[in-house]
């Protein structure tokens, strides 16, 4: 039987149901096949199939396949199996009957005729068709029979069955489970003890252990309500998304590098991981979760979270180096990755198996495969700028609502109150208006660069330097002043985004170096300018205390030394003050000239200078109130004019500005407006890796060779070979998951006019989530099964990524349908389903063992107990960090490869060539293809990890330091047990450990107590009780 299957496999599905045949038949068929391969094939090919097979089928007789041969043509059956003599084919070949064959050619040799006759007598087997079938046309047909396979059939609404043991079930889930157990006369376990229950919940729902207080509280009140409260608390925890997101990332084969040759990083891929965590925490409906991962850019292009979700399709591997010969096949590999991952992750279907031939087991013809991958034909990875702080529409509206009254009050004051107050003040402006200021900003400076830099005046009295950035420069700045008794000058170097690293200098690293500064004063009324001696220099920051100090700007060296601000001062505003050795200022006005040299280093000028002088007494502080020096000039003008009205409009406006800054009410209202303005929601832009269409493709090594990144057309490929194209494939979905006579057009939507993408992925997502006629029911089944799998340790379908014929059958098909329908009816929200599962008696069972039950159901498929399971790699590591108090609970953002990171393990960067060793050690999968479940191994290197790993030891040391504060060993041991294992030690344990600590402590020369306690804690980490739940 096996042999017969081999002969027909793959190309003639209709013959699979061949009648049972004798052993002798198999032997004959083997002989016949050998004969076919050695001779008959060539004869048929040479003489027959030109007219009877492939494109031409004369007389409706197709000899290219065995089915065609047996079916015969217009003249009836061409052969009678085992009876060559009576076969029509032989009579025409022997020219005993018309039409003589081969047509218009000589009769075949008698040797050839004998071979064909023998072959017919041996059963006429073929090893493969004589003519290649075209992919688009023939091949596997999908029928309603196929659609009725349990996994593809619609969900069945089933009522929970009636059970005998009424007091065991906590909810309907338990009735399904119990019914099965009762049918084989198995008794389920009762609930685990409260400590076990709460630890199980914590590890399962958030991946971290409960604190001793949390355990104690529940053990004190293990009521149903208390349990439900813990469940709600955990499902609402931010850690829930971190725990369950990791399960999904396995399925999504998520990683942050390309793989292959250089394994370049995908530095902006982590946003997808953040999307998964956020979506789960927000309990995003699962159908939306799916839609966004496939086509978030088409469903909600303005929502950054939806854009991040598209990272799913682009998370697979891709070569970083390609030759011309590989361009197209690499692209088909990439389409395969997208289709395959979508299939296994969402539908538990191994679509990729139909790449080279019709699926061997599932009803997926090879043409469905190529039509399916066409969905992604123009989809590529890109890195785009996105506002990462979410959709701001709502926040902006809220802000605007709050802002309006502030601006209204301010406007009202300016209109109704301010003019009156100003007029009053201007009648007799107090002298203090000027004098209370410490620093007068020289906003009316005339700056000049000797080497071609330009200055543009800013509102704050500073000057933004632009134009040429000369290698050396000298500035000459002059200003006229009315004030006398000036004691110091201040040079501020302000920042600006036009400079490298925001400045404050124009050098490539944002630095500057002021090699020399000189000040001169001249009487406005006439006379020589005289140098002003500068003393007591000080600065907000200086690069060093020698040649780059502020003092070196007034030392004897005018070229090689001078004030600079690197090593801590870049990107920040800086200032230097130089006091005048004697007060400066002439009656009737002073012309001040400042010369600044920049020679120390190439192109190292200040980028945005602001100069100020002060009449404040020495020693002069760098900071202080400031006002524009032009104030004094204005007040002088007012005095001269006699009243505000007589000033010109420009002067009046300038004076009003000066006044209002001193009006307490105006200042208060203005501050309200200004402060609120700073809280206006602004988009924070960040690079995000998306998988979309029409954006610039992520840079590739082979771009220089002309790598096109994608091909608009998708072709049917023979044997998956890009060199054997067989017609163009347009988009379609899997026929087996289209019901009610629908075809792909029922879900296909066209993009709006001029839109960037093709909407093919959106169409796919419509079909995926359609519970009426599309794939929605399977989608729900597969996800409900994943939840069950992670909660109970084993899926109802134990092959979570394969619901096809090769997958395992569900242990509880009705329960699975019930769960899937619950999921859909809950609006696809996962949290209610989680809750139903963890509230069940099935979930809360003890792990108690029973020899008879074990014999009846050794794998615990029916859930008569809780099967203890080792925690996953991430949970082990996170829990060790948590109990030692070292866990850093910050969420999201770029990950790291550094194993010393203290955040949760989901924030490790996943670089395909540098997977984190401590994760791999405990079976975290290689992120190459979708992984539905992880193996669990127990190997010696895991033990080495507990014994010797630096991070494990560091956590043990940390907890040991806390234990050391306990009054005695017994108390320290108790606290250690409570913290790590959530229970008190038994007296026996206390005894063993006390003597251990005693011996260890004495064996260390230094710090023995702490080291001994750390040794003890490390032992706790290595206990099965800690890592098996």
């Amino acid at each position: 039987m096996r042999f017969v299957l081999f002969v027909f496999l793959g190309w003639s599905a209709s013959l699979l149901a061949a009648p049972k045949v004798s052993e002798k038949h198999a032997v004959e068929m083997a002989k016949g096949l050998a004969l076919f391969k050695s001779d008959v094939r060539v004869l048929l090919k040479q003489h027959c199939v030109k007219c009877h097979g492939g494109d031409k089928i004369r007389g409706d007789l197709d000899l290219s396949t065995r089915a065609g041969l047996l079916k015969g043509g217009e003249e009836g059956p061409s052969i009678i199996l085992g009876k060559a003599e009576d076969s029509f084919l032989m009579t025409v070949l022997r020219h005993e009957e018309e039409p003589f064959m081969p047509a218009k050619a000589d009769k075949l040799s008698s040797d050839a005729l004998k071979k064909i006759a023998d072959w017919i007598n041996l059963g006429a087997p073929y090893d493969q068709p004589l003519v290649e079938q075209s992919i688009a046309g023939k091949g596997m047909q999908v029928t309603d029979d196929d659609r009725n396979f349990w996994a593809y059939a619609p969900l069945q609404a089933v009522k929970a069955p009636v059970v005998q043991q009424k007091n065991w079930p906590a909810n309907d889930i338990d009735r399904f489970v119990l019914r099965k157990l009762e049918s084989v006369k198995l008794q389920p376990n009762g609930p685990a003890d409260p400590r076990m229950q709460i630890r199980r919940l914590y590890f399962d729902l958030i991946g971290l252990p409960p604190s001793p207080t949390e355990v104690a509280a529940f053990v004190d009140d293990p009521s149903e309500q208390a349990y439900a409260k813990v469940v709600d608390h955990l499902l609402a925890s931010k850690h829930y998304g971190e725990r369950w997101g990791r399960h999904w990332l396995d399925v999504a084969r998520f990683a942050e590098s390309h793989g292959f040759e250089q394994d370049y990083n995908r530095n902006f891929a982590f946003h997808y991981r953040d999307f998964v965590i956020q979506a789960l925490n927000a309990d995003m409906p699962y159908d939306q979760f799916v839609k966004w991962q496939i086509a978030g850019d088409e469903f909600a292009p303005d929502n950054p979270l939806a854009m991040k979700a598209t990272g799913f399709l682009g998370a697979g591997v891709f070569p970083t180096q390609l030759t011309e010969k590989e361009f197209e096949s690499a692209r088909y590999d990439e389409l395969d990755d997208m289709a395959n991952t979508t299939g296994t992750a969402m539908l538990g279907l191994t679509i990729g198996c139909a790449r080279c031939h019709d699926h061997k087991f599932d009803p997926i013809p090879v043409r469905d495969y190529y039509r399916f991958i066409n969905t992604f034909a123009t989809t590529i990875r890109s890195e785009i700028d996105l506002p990462v702080n979410g959709d701001l529409t709502e926040a902006t509206a809220k802000w605007e609502k709050a802002h309006a009254p502030l601006t209204a009050a301010f406007a009202k004051f300016e209109k109704d109150e301010l003019p009156r107050r100003f007029a009053l003040w201007a009648k007799n402006p107090p002298k203090s208006a000027l004098q209370k200021q410490d620093w007068m900003i020289l906003d009316h400076l005339q700056p000049k660069s000797l080497d071609g830099a330009t200055f543009s005046k800013q509102a704050d009295g500073s000057f933004l330097v632009g134009g040429k950035n000369p290698s050396n420069d000298r500035w000459v700045l002059t200003a006229e002043l009315q004030t006398m008794g000036l004691n110091a000058i201040r040079i501020e170097a302000l920042t600006d985004k036009s400079m490298p690293r925001n400045g404050p200098g124009r050098a490539g690293n944002g630095n500057f170096a002021l090699s020399d500064i000189r000040v001169f004063a001249a009487n406005k009324k006439g006379g020589q300018r005289v140098p002003v001696k500068l003393v007591n220099p000080k600065a907000t920051h200086q690069q060093n205390t020698a040649g780059l100090s502020v003092a070196s700007s007034i030392d004897g060296d005018k070229r090689k030394s001078g004030w600079a601000v690197d090593f801590g001062g870049i990107g920040k505003e800086q200032a230097a003050v130089f006091e005048f050795a004697a007060p400066v200022g002439f009656e009737g006005g002073t012309i001040l000239t400042v010369e600044m040299d920049f020679y120390v280093n190439t192109s190292h000028t200040i980028g945005r200078p602001r100069l100020a002088v002060t009449a404040a007494p020495r020693p002069v502080a760098i900071k202080g109130d400031s006002s524009a020096a032009s104030v004094a000039t204005l007040l002088a003008a007012l005095k001269q004019a006699g009243s505000v009205e007589k000033l010109d409009a420009k002067q009046r406006a300038a004076l009003l500005k000066i006044y209002r800054a001193q009006d307490a009410e105006w200042t208060k209202l203005n501050n309200h407006v200004q402060q609120h303005l700073t809280r206006k929601p602004v988009p924070k832009m960040e690079k995000v890796q998306v998988t979309s269409e029409g954006f610039k493709p992520t840079k590739h090594h082979a771009d220089g060779r002309g790598f096109p990144h994608f091909y608009k057309q998708t072709y049917f490929l023979k044997r998956g070979d890009a060199n054997q194209k067989d017609g163009e494939a347009t988009q379609g979905f899997l026929q087996v998951l289209m019901r009610g006579g629908k075809n792909e057009q029922s879900w296909q939507v066209a993009p709006p006019e001029g839109w960037r993408t093709s909407y093919r992925r959106r169409s796919l997502a419509n079909w995926l989530t359609d519970t009426e006629h599309g794939a929605g029911h399977l989608l729900a089944r597969v996800m409900a099964n994943r939840l069950w799998q992670h909660h109970l340790g084993r899926g109802i379908v134990n092959t979570p990524n394969d619901f096809g014929l090769q997958g395992e059958l569900p242990t509880h098909p009705q329960l699975l349908d019930w769960l899937a329908l619950e999921l859909i009816e809950n609006g696809w929200r996962l949290k209610p389903l989680h809750k139903q599962i963890v509230m069940s008696a099935t979930y809360r069972q003890s792990a108690a063992h029973d020899a008879a039950k074990l014999k009846a159901d050794p794998q615990n498929k029916l859930h008569w107990r809780r099967t203890p399971a080792r925690l996953e790699a991430e949970v082990i590591r996170d829990s060790i960090l948590k109990v030692s108090g070292r866990l850093d609970e910050r969420m999201f953002g770029a990950g790291t490869l550094d194993e010393r990171m203290l955040r949760r393990s989901i924030y490790f960067m996943i670089k395909r060539s540098k997977l984190i060793p401590s994760m791999q050690l405990f079976d975290s999968p290689e992120p190459l293809v979708s992984q539905g479940s992880r193996p669990v191994t127990i190997i010696a290197p895991q033990a080495l990890h507990f014994m010797n790993n630096g991070q494990v030891r560091a956590s043990a040391m940390e907890l040991a330091r806390q234990l050391k504060a306990q009054p005695d060993t017994a108390a320290a041991v108790t606290l250690g047990y409570q913290t790590v294992l959530g229970r008190d030690p038994t007296p026996k344990e206390q005894k063993s450990i006390a003597s251990f600590i005693d011996v260890q402590e004495k064996s260390y020369t230094n710090n023995g107590r702490e080291l001994a306690l750390a040794d003890f804690v490390q032992v706790l980490f290595g206990l099965n009780e800690f890592i098996v739940q």
Binding site: K325, R912, I939, N948, N949, N1024
Partner: protein, 474 residues
């Protein structure tokens, strides 16, 4: 099943001084029905053969077959002539294609088989009668990393288990204190082969089957050293306490089936701490052995240490060892795009003496029969020159040479041929899948039966191909 009794039996055995190792952990676990939890337990092959372990000398970067083992006198005759109809996209640099180029090295016959060997292998040429050559190899890609993946994992794509992982999955481990599958890479800072660890990855097989990369510098593997300040006695007491506590827990919770295996894993780990450094201690070898491998020769001492380590590992039950000659690409490996003469002289010089010594040493210890030694890279090189100041050769996926020795292969035989200039495999073509099928066969495994169910499909190393090259099997 009463696991507690078994646990007591284990303690009893230990008290009796027999130790678990002497009985074989695997068999004991199997008796306890725990074999599923020790995925490295030694397993029986499909059929009995000689080879127990493999040392694969991966000649990284693509060694030129026509300058090493595939003697092509015709190339000398047509030196400088253009190759009519040559597809310039065959190699990596389509714009540097030159004329046919003779080998810069002299070929002479060696051994009883009279095999012609290039002059760059003065030592290896003495062992041709131990070698079975496959000259008709061909592969799927003209690009390093897909070709490396094809040679290591059977397909020119990422994500499939490599040969070493399949072998370890199929046969388990013979060592209870060393990894089953060890990889040694270039210790001269020239990088890892392209595609990095994916070349020894387990793909979709459980990660326990992946190759353990012994780092060329520093600690060879993670977590081998005790925490600073802790001595062996202190750690021993820690493990004793751990065992005591685990057992006390077990008495109350006798349903934790994994406990026995967990306890044992700590004992194994404790042993590994000394076993791994011991296996690497090539300085413990006698002087004449060290000299034979070339440990005193600056040119080749790094490969000498790796080859000698490989032999020590084979003796200690390591199943599969892969040594990469050369680092990443171009002048850092056998990737002789420029100056094929200089490049191949250098890398042959680094490997000739150590590999020859390895063959001799295995042979004199009677280990060669059960150790399959494999030599070859990811593709061959073209018979035409790659134009350059000093000419080189570009990648050639259509022809490559492998040789194997020991482990049940015939010595002094050559299988398959390339065309007369060594451009393409021509006679008895041998695809990468065929090579893999042959290696598995030599280890007693039927490549069609060594399968792993993953996402709905039974995968094999040889995908849908593979025919055993019976002609080279003794």
């Amino acid at each position: 099943m009463n696991t507690l009794n078994h646990l007591n039996r284990r303690q009893m055995l230990q008290r009796a001084g027999m130790g678990i190792g002497s009985l074989g952990l695997a068999s004991l676990l199997q008796q306890e029905g725990l074999a599923a939890q020790n995925p490295l337990a030694a397993k029986n092959p499909h059929f009995k053969t000689k080879a127990k372990s493999v040392i694969w000398l991966f000649i990284n970067g693509g060694p030129s077959h026509v300058d090493t083992w595939d003697y092509k006198p015709e190339l000398a005759k047509r030196d400088g002539q253009a190759l009519e109809g040559f597809d310039r996209f065959t190699g990596f640099f389509a714009n540097a294609v030159g004329g046919l180029m003779k080998s810069p090295f002299e070929f002479k016959p060696h051994g009883q088989s009279g095999k012609h060997v290039s002059s760059i292998f003065p030592n290896l040429s003495k062992h041709v009668d131990k070698m079975a050559f496959i000259h008709s190899g061909h592969t799927e890609s003209n690009n390093h990393s897909p070709a490396l993946f094809a040679m290591n994992c059977g397909l020119p794509r990422m994500g499939y288990p490599c040969v070493g992982s399949w072998v370890t999955y199929g046969l388990g481990s013979e060592s209870d204190s060393l990894p089953a599958f060890v990889v040694m890479s270039d210790p001269k800072g020239r990088g890892l082969p392209k595609g990095h660890a994916a070349n020894w990855g387990a793909g979709f097989l459980p990660s326990v089957y992946q190759g353990t990369h012994f780092r060329p510098t520093g600690d060879p593997i993670d977590n081998l050293k005790r925490p600073t300040g802790m001595n062996a006695e202190q750690q021993r007491r820690q493990l004793d306490l751990l065992k005591t506590l685990n057992q006390q827990h077990f008495e109350v919770n006798p349903f934790e089936e994994s406990l026995a295996a967990r306890i044992e894993s700590f004992e194994l780990a404790y042993r590994m701490q000394s076993a791994a450094p011991e296996a690497l201690a090539v300085d413990k070898e006698p002087e004449h052995i060290r000299a034979m491998y070339g440990l005193d020769d600056d040119k080749c001492k790094h490969v000498a240490a790796q080859c000698l380590t490989a032999r020590r590992m084979v003796e200690r039950g390591v199943r599969f060892i892969q040594i990469y000659s050369g680092g990443m690409e171009n002048q850092r490996s056998w990737d002789g795009h420029n100056d094929i003469a200089g490049n191949h002289s250098q890398f042959a010089g680094e490997t000739d003496k150590p590999i020859a010594a390895l063959l001799q040493d295995l042979s004199q210890r009677g280990l060669l029969d059960e150790t399959l030694v494999v030599w070859g890279g990811e593709f061959g090189r073209l018979p035409v020159a790659q134009k350059s100041k000093k000419p080189g050769r570009d990648h050639n996926p259509h022809a490559l040479t492998y040789w194997m020795a020991g482990g049940g292969v015939k010595g002094g035989v050559s299988y398959g041929e390339t065309d007369e200039i060594g451009h393409k495999a021509a006679v008895d073509k041998c695809h990468v899948n065929d090579l893999h099928a042959t290696i598995l066969h030599l280890l007693g495994m039927d490549h069609e039966k060594l399968t792993y169910r993953h996402n709905g499909r039974d995968f094999r190393l040889t995908d849908v191909g593979g025919e055993v090259v019976k002609e080279i099997i003794a």
